[in-house]
Protein backbone atom coordinates (compact mmCIF):
# COMPACT_ATOMS: atom_id res chain seq x y z
CA UNK A 1 0.00 0.00 0.00
CA UNK A 2 1.37 3.35 -1.00
CA UNK A 3 1.99 5.62 2.00
CA UNK A 4 -0.80 5.74 4.53
CA UNK A 5 -3.48 5.70 1.92
CA UNK A 6 -6.80 4.00 2.48
CA UNK A 7 -8.66 1.50 0.35
CA UNK A 8 -11.69 1.51 -1.88
CA UNK A 9 -14.08 -1.36 -1.19
CA UNK A 10 -16.64 -2.68 -3.65
CA UNK A 11 -19.84 -4.70 -3.31
CA UNK A 12 -21.34 -5.60 -6.63
CA UNK A 13 -22.11 -8.06 -9.36
CA UNK A 14 -19.33 -10.05 -11.02
CA UNK A 15 -18.62 -7.63 -13.85
CA UNK A 16 -18.54 -4.56 -11.62
CA UNK A 17 -16.15 -6.19 -9.16
CA UNK A 18 -13.99 -7.58 -11.98
CA UNK A 19 -13.75 -4.14 -13.52
CA UNK A 20 -12.77 -2.42 -10.31
CA UNK A 21 -10.23 -5.12 -9.47
CA UNK A 22 -8.76 -4.64 -12.94
CA UNK A 23 -8.45 -1.00 -11.98
CA UNK A 24 -6.25 -2.12 -9.08
CA UNK A 25 -8.30 -1.64 -5.91
CA UNK A 26 -8.28 -5.28 -4.77
CA UNK A 27 -6.63 -6.28 -1.52
CA UNK A 28 -6.43 -9.38 0.60
CA UNK A 29 -5.20 -8.44 4.06
CA UNK A 30 -3.19 -10.51 6.52
CA UNK A 31 -6.31 -12.34 7.66
CA UNK A 32 -7.06 -12.98 3.98
CA UNK A 33 -10.16 -10.79 4.18
CA UNK A 34 -10.91 -9.16 0.84
CA UNK A 35 -12.11 -5.60 0.32
CA UNK A 36 -14.70 -6.74 -2.20
CA UNK A 37 -17.78 -8.93 -2.39
CA UNK A 38 -19.13 -10.53 -5.53
CA UNK A 39 -22.90 -10.72 -5.17
CA UNK A 40 -24.42 -13.63 -6.99
CA UNK A 41 -27.94 -14.94 -7.23
CA UNK A 42 -27.54 -17.12 -4.17
CA UNK A 43 -25.87 -14.49 -1.98
CA UNK A 44 -28.07 -13.78 1.02
CA UNK A 45 -29.04 -10.28 2.15
CA UNK A 46 -27.62 -11.06 5.60
CA UNK A 47 -24.25 -11.79 4.06
CA UNK A 48 -24.33 -8.54 2.09
CA UNK A 49 -25.32 -6.57 5.17
CA UNK A 50 -22.65 -8.17 7.31
CA UNK A 51 -19.98 -7.47 4.72
CA UNK A 52 -21.15 -3.87 4.39
CA UNK A 53 -21.02 -3.41 8.15
CA UNK A 54 -17.59 -5.01 8.35
CA UNK A 55 -16.38 -2.54 5.68
CA UNK A 56 -17.84 0.33 7.72
CA UNK A 57 -16.00 -0.90 10.79
CA UNK A 58 -12.63 -1.16 9.03
CA UNK A 59 -10.32 1.82 9.52
CA UNK A 60 -8.45 1.28 6.28
CA UNK A 61 -11.42 1.80 3.97
CA UNK A 62 -12.23 5.32 2.71
CA UNK A 63 -14.85 4.69 0.04
CA UNK A 64 -17.40 1.90 -0.36
CA UNK A 65 -18.77 1.42 -3.86
CA UNK A 66 -22.01 -0.49 -4.04
CA UNK A 67 -24.37 -1.36 -6.89
CA UNK A 68 -27.62 0.51 -6.44
CA UNK A 69 -29.80 -2.58 -6.65
CA UNK A 70 -27.75 -4.15 -3.84
CA UNK A 71 -27.95 -0.91 -1.87
CA UNK A 72 -31.72 -1.15 -2.15
CA UNK A 73 -31.58 -4.52 -0.36
CA UNK A 74 -29.76 -3.05 2.63
CA UNK A 75 -31.16 0.50 2.45
CA UNK A 76 -31.73 0.68 6.21
CA UNK A 77 -28.04 -0.01 6.89
CA UNK A 78 -26.95 2.62 4.35
CA UNK A 79 -29.36 5.25 5.67
CA UNK A 80 -28.14 4.59 9.21
CA UNK A 81 -24.56 5.41 8.22
CA UNK A 82 -24.12 9.15 8.82
CA UNK A 83 -20.33 9.52 9.04
CA UNK A 84 -18.44 11.01 6.15
CA UNK A 85 -15.73 8.32 6.24
CA UNK A 86 -16.11 5.80 4.73
CA UNK A 87 -18.13 7.49 2.00
CA UNK A 88 -20.76 5.30 0.39
CA UNK A 89 -21.16 5.65 -3.37
CA UNK A 90 -24.02 4.02 -5.22
CA UNK A 91 -23.18 2.96 -8.74
CA UNK A 92 -25.31 1.49 -11.52
CA UNK A 93 -25.25 -2.17 -12.43
CA UNK A 94 -25.60 -3.89 -15.78
CA UNK A 95 -29.26 -4.70 -15.39
CA UNK A 96 -30.29 -1.75 -13.26
CA UNK A 97 -29.47 1.76 -14.49
CA UNK A 98 -28.64 4.45 -11.96
CA UNK A 99 -31.68 6.15 -10.47
CA UNK A 100 -30.87 9.41 -8.67
CA UNK A 101 -34.18 9.38 -6.80
CA UNK A 102 -33.08 6.21 -5.00
CA UNK A 103 -29.63 7.47 -4.03
CA UNK A 104 -29.53 8.00 -0.28
CA UNK A 105 -27.18 11.00 -0.48
CA UNK A 106 -29.21 12.81 -3.12
CA UNK A 107 -32.42 12.02 -1.29
CA UNK A 108 -30.92 13.59 1.81
CA UNK A 109 -29.73 16.62 -0.16
CA UNK A 110 -32.96 17.14 -2.02
CA UNK A 111 -34.94 16.62 1.17
CA UNK A 112 -34.55 20.27 1.94
CA UNK A 113 -36.69 21.20 -1.01
CA UNK A 114 -39.56 19.03 0.01
CA UNK A 115 -42.96 20.56 0.71
CA UNK A 116 -42.43 20.20 4.44
CA UNK A 117 -39.49 22.59 4.44
CA UNK A 118 -41.33 25.40 2.70
CA UNK A 119 -44.69 25.07 4.33
Amino acid sequence: MAGRGKLIAVIGDEDTVTGFLLGGIGELNKNRKPNFLVVEKDTSITEIEETFKSFLARNDIAIILINQFIAEMIRHAIDAHMQSIPAVLEIPSKEHPYDASKDSILRRAKGMFSAEDFR
Binding site: A2, K6, G19, G24, L28, A62, I91
Partner: protein, 233 residues
Protein backbone atom coordinates in the same frame (compact mmCIF):
# COMPACT_ATOMS: atom_id res chain seq x y z
CA UNK B 1 -30.99 48.79 10.99
CA UNK B 2 -33.21 45.76 11.33
CA UNK B 3 -34.17 45.91 7.66
CA UNK B 4 -30.51 46.08 6.63
CA UNK B 5 -29.61 43.12 8.76
CA UNK B 6 -32.50 41.20 7.32
CA UNK B 7 -31.39 42.04 3.78
CA UNK B 8 -27.83 40.98 4.55
CA UNK B 9 -28.89 37.67 5.97
CA UNK B 10 -31.18 37.09 2.99
CA UNK B 11 -28.30 37.80 0.62
CA UNK B 12 -26.11 35.42 2.55
CA UNK B 13 -28.79 32.78 2.36
CA UNK B 14 -29.11 33.32 -1.38
CA UNK B 15 -25.38 32.95 -1.78
CA UNK B 16 -25.36 29.71 0.16
CA UNK B 17 -28.30 28.39 -1.80
CA UNK B 18 -26.55 29.18 -5.08
CA UNK B 19 -23.38 27.48 -3.84
CA UNK B 20 -25.41 24.45 -2.85
CA UNK B 21 -27.09 24.33 -6.26
CA UNK B 22 -23.75 24.70 -8.05
CA UNK B 23 -22.28 21.80 -6.13
CA UNK B 24 -25.35 19.70 -6.79
CA UNK B 25 -25.07 20.42 -10.51
CA UNK B 26 -21.38 19.55 -10.45
CA UNK B 27 -22.18 16.30 -8.66
CA UNK B 28 -24.81 15.42 -11.22
CA UNK B 29 -22.42 16.09 -14.10
CA UNK B 30 -19.71 13.93 -12.60
CA UNK B 31 -22.24 11.21 -11.90
CA UNK B 32 -23.19 11.16 -15.55
CA UNK B 33 -19.54 10.82 -16.61
CA UNK B 34 -19.03 8.06 -14.03
CA UNK B 35 -22.05 6.13 -15.23
CA UNK B 36 -21.03 6.33 -18.88
CA UNK B 37 -17.45 5.28 -18.05
CA UNK B 38 -18.70 2.27 -16.08
CA UNK B 39 -20.95 1.32 -18.99
CA UNK B 40 -18.00 1.57 -21.34
CA UNK B 41 -16.01 -0.68 -19.00
CA UNK B 42 -18.71 -3.34 -18.94
CA UNK B 43 -18.97 -3.24 -22.69
CA UNK B 44 -15.23 -3.82 -23.01
CA UNK B 45 -15.36 -6.67 -20.46
CA UNK B 46 -18.19 -8.28 -22.44
CA UNK B 47 -16.16 -7.94 -25.63
CA UNK B 48 -13.17 -9.56 -23.94
CA UNK B 49 -15.39 -12.35 -22.65
CA UNK B 50 -16.69 -12.93 -26.15
CA UNK B 51 -13.19 -13.31 -27.58
CA UNK B 52 -11.59 -15.18 -24.64
CA UNK B 53 -14.43 -17.45 -23.63
CA UNK B 54 -17.09 -17.21 -20.98
CA UNK B 55 -15.10 -18.64 -18.07
CA UNK B 56 -11.91 -16.78 -18.85
CA UNK B 57 -13.21 -13.46 -17.55
CA UNK B 58 -14.81 -14.24 -14.22
CA UNK B 59 -14.25 -14.03 -10.51
CA UNK B 60 -12.52 -17.42 -10.63
CA UNK B 61 -9.54 -15.81 -12.32
CA UNK B 62 -8.80 -13.43 -9.42
CA UNK B 63 -5.35 -13.92 -7.91
CA UNK B 64 -4.85 -15.55 -4.51
CA UNK B 65 -2.72 -12.67 -3.37
CA UNK B 66 -3.61 -9.08 -4.05
CA UNK B 67 -2.19 -5.78 -3.11
CA UNK B 68 -3.91 -2.53 -3.98
CA UNK B 69 -2.37 -0.44 -6.70
CA UNK B 70 -4.57 2.51 -5.81
CA UNK B 71 -4.87 4.16 -2.44
CA UNK B 72 -7.04 7.02 -1.30
CA UNK B 73 -5.52 9.80 0.74
CA UNK B 74 -8.09 11.34 3.05
CA UNK B 75 -7.68 14.88 4.33
CA UNK B 76 -10.15 16.53 6.68
CA UNK B 77 -10.32 20.27 6.10
CA UNK B 78 -11.22 22.96 8.64
CA UNK B 79 -14.84 23.37 7.55
CA UNK B 80 -15.69 19.70 8.09
CA UNK B 81 -15.09 19.00 4.44
CA UNK B 82 -13.20 15.88 3.48
CA UNK B 83 -10.88 15.60 0.54
CA UNK B 84 -10.34 12.24 -1.15
CA UNK B 85 -7.38 11.87 -3.44
CA UNK B 86 -6.89 8.62 -5.35
CA UNK B 87 -3.20 7.90 -5.81
CA UNK B 88 -1.83 5.15 -8.03
CA UNK B 89 1.29 3.57 -6.58
CA UNK B 90 4.32 4.26 -8.76
CA UNK B 91 6.14 1.12 -7.63
CA UNK B 92 3.95 -1.03 -9.85
CA UNK B 93 4.87 0.92 -12.97
CA UNK B 94 8.59 0.61 -12.26
CA UNK B 95 8.23 -3.12 -11.65
CA UNK B 96 6.46 -3.55 -14.94
CA UNK B 97 9.21 -1.87 -16.87
CA UNK B 98 11.80 -4.12 -15.22
CA UNK B 99 9.74 -7.28 -15.59
CA UNK B 100 8.77 -7.15 -19.22
CA UNK B 101 12.17 -7.61 -20.89
CA UNK B 102 13.13 -10.53 -18.58
CA UNK B 103 9.84 -12.36 -19.20
CA UNK B 104 10.41 -12.18 -22.97
CA UNK B 105 13.92 -13.60 -22.60
CA UNK B 106 12.62 -16.43 -20.39
CA UNK B 107 9.97 -17.57 -22.83
CA UNK B 108 12.18 -17.53 -25.95
CA UNK B 109 14.64 -20.44 -25.38
CA UNK B 110 11.95 -22.68 -23.80
CA UNK B 111 9.79 -22.49 -26.91
CA UNK B 112 12.74 -23.29 -29.18
CA UNK B 113 13.41 -26.48 -27.21
CA UNK B 114 9.85 -27.66 -27.65
CA UNK B 115 9.75 -27.07 -31.39
CA UNK B 116 12.58 -29.56 -32.15
CA UNK B 117 10.78 -32.83 -32.55
CA UNK B 118 12.93 -34.95 -34.89
CA UNK B 119 14.61 -37.79 -33.00
CA UNK B 120 17.78 -38.44 -34.99
CA UNK B 121 20.95 -39.56 -33.23
CA UNK B 122 22.65 -36.29 -33.78
CA UNK B 123 19.66 -34.52 -32.28
CA UNK B 124 19.83 -36.70 -29.16
CA UNK B 125 23.44 -35.75 -28.69
CA UNK B 126 22.54 -32.13 -29.24
CA UNK B 127 19.71 -32.42 -26.75
CA UNK B 128 22.09 -33.68 -24.07
CA UNK B 129 24.30 -30.68 -24.54
CA UNK B 130 21.29 -28.35 -24.64
CA UNK B 131 19.97 -29.92 -21.41
CA UNK B 132 23.32 -29.26 -19.77
CA UNK B 133 23.10 -25.69 -20.90
CA UNK B 134 19.51 -25.35 -19.77
CA UNK B 135 20.38 -26.81 -16.35
CA UNK B 136 23.07 -24.21 -16.13
CA UNK B 137 20.60 -21.56 -17.15
CA UNK B 138 17.90 -22.79 -14.76
CA UNK B 139 18.92 -20.64 -11.82
CA UNK B 140 18.53 -17.56 -14.05
CA UNK B 141 14.97 -18.50 -14.99
CA UNK B 142 13.77 -19.03 -11.42
CA UNK B 143 14.11 -15.48 -10.18
CA UNK B 144 11.90 -14.34 -13.05
CA UNK B 145 9.22 -16.81 -12.02
CA UNK B 146 9.49 -15.75 -8.40
CA UNK B 147 8.87 -12.17 -9.44
CA UNK B 148 5.69 -13.30 -11.18
CA UNK B 149 4.27 -14.32 -7.82
CA UNK B 150 4.63 -10.77 -6.60
CA UNK B 151 1.12 -9.86 -5.35
CA UNK B 152 1.51 -6.33 -6.67
CA UNK B 153 1.33 -7.37 -10.29
CA UNK B 154 -0.87 -5.94 -12.98
CA UNK B 155 -4.37 -7.47 -12.56
CA UNK B 156 -4.53 -7.90 -16.35
CA UNK B 157 -2.14 -10.84 -15.95
CA UNK B 158 -4.71 -12.78 -13.92
CA UNK B 159 -6.54 -13.28 -17.20
CA UNK B 160 -3.53 -14.39 -19.22
CA UNK B 161 -0.36 -12.99 -20.73
CA UNK B 162 -1.76 -12.02 -24.10
CA UNK B 163 -5.09 -10.48 -23.20
CA UNK B 164 -7.27 -8.83 -25.85
CA UNK B 165 -7.20 -5.10 -26.36
CA UNK B 166 -10.78 -4.81 -25.08
CA UNK B 167 -9.73 -5.99 -21.62
CA UNK B 168 -7.05 -3.31 -21.56
CA UNK B 169 -9.68 -0.78 -22.56
CA UNK B 170 -11.89 -2.01 -19.72
CA UNK B 171 -9.00 -1.56 -17.31
CA UNK B 172 -8.31 1.99 -18.45
CA UNK B 173 -11.97 3.02 -18.18
CA UNK B 174 -12.24 1.51 -14.69
CA UNK B 175 -9.06 3.33 -13.69
CA UNK B 176 -10.79 6.56 -14.69
CA UNK B 177 -13.88 5.50 -12.76
CA UNK B 178 -11.80 5.00 -9.62
CA UNK B 179 -10.33 8.49 -9.84
CA UNK B 180 -13.74 9.98 -10.51
CA UNK B 181 -15.35 8.10 -7.65
CA UNK B 182 -12.92 9.71 -5.20
CA UNK B 183 -13.95 13.14 -6.52
CA UNK B 184 -17.63 12.26 -6.27
CA UNK B 185 -17.24 10.99 -2.71
CA UNK B 186 -15.71 14.34 -1.73
CA UNK B 187 -18.42 16.25 -3.58
CA UNK B 188 -21.16 14.29 -1.84
CA UNK B 189 -19.81 15.41 1.51
CA UNK B 190 -19.60 19.03 0.30
CA UNK B 191 -23.24 18.89 -0.84
CA UNK B 192 -24.43 17.39 2.44
CA UNK B 193 -22.52 19.96 4.48
CA UNK B 194 -23.81 22.85 2.35
CA UNK B 195 -27.32 21.59 2.76
CA UNK B 196 -26.91 21.25 6.53
CA UNK B 197 -25.53 24.77 6.79
CA UNK B 198 -28.27 26.22 4.65
CA UNK B 199 -30.96 24.52 6.66
CA UNK B 200 -29.42 25.74 9.89
CA UNK B 201 -29.22 29.33 8.60
CA UNK B 202 -32.77 29.21 7.29
CA UNK B 203 -34.02 28.17 10.67
CA UNK B 204 -31.96 30.82 12.45
CA UNK B 205 -33.14 33.49 10.06
CA UNK B 206 -36.74 32.54 10.60
CA UNK B 207 -36.29 32.47 14.34
CA UNK B 208 -34.59 35.89 14.66
CA UNK B 209 -36.49 38.02 12.13
CA UNK B 210 -39.69 36.16 11.58
CA UNK B 211 -39.29 36.90 7.87
CA UNK B 212 -37.80 35.04 4.95
CA UNK B 213 -38.97 32.29 2.76
CA UNK B 214 -40.87 30.45 5.42
CA UNK B 215 -43.70 32.50 6.92
CA UNK B 216 -45.19 29.83 9.10
CA UNK B 217 -41.89 28.40 10.24
CA UNK B 218 -42.63 28.90 13.92
CA UNK B 219 -45.77 26.84 13.78
CA UNK B 220 -43.77 24.09 12.13
CA UNK B 221 -40.81 24.28 14.46
CA UNK B 222 -41.75 21.06 16.17
CA UNK B 223 -41.82 19.24 12.85
CA UNK B 224 -38.43 20.63 11.94
CA UNK B 225 -37.04 19.48 15.28
CA UNK B 226 -38.36 16.01 14.68
CA UNK B 227 -36.76 16.04 11.22
CA UNK B 228 -33.39 17.13 12.57
CA UNK B 229 -33.60 14.55 15.34
CA UNK B 230 -34.17 11.89 12.73
CA UNK B 231 -31.17 13.10 10.81
CA UNK B 232 -28.85 13.17 13.78
CA UNK B 233 -29.85 9.67 14.78
Amino acid sequence: MGVLREEDSCLLLDEKLLYFMDQLELLEGKRKTLNSLIEQGWFSISKARYSMGNKQVSALQFANEMEPLVSVHVRTLENDEVEFCAVRSSRKCNDEFVKEPTSIEDIGPQEEGIRRRKNTKSDVAEKKTSEDISSEKAPEVNPGRKRDHNPQQDPLKWFGILVPQSLKQAQSSFKQVIELSAEIAALQIVVLNARQELKHDLRNNDGSTGAGLNTSARSNEKEADVLSANESS
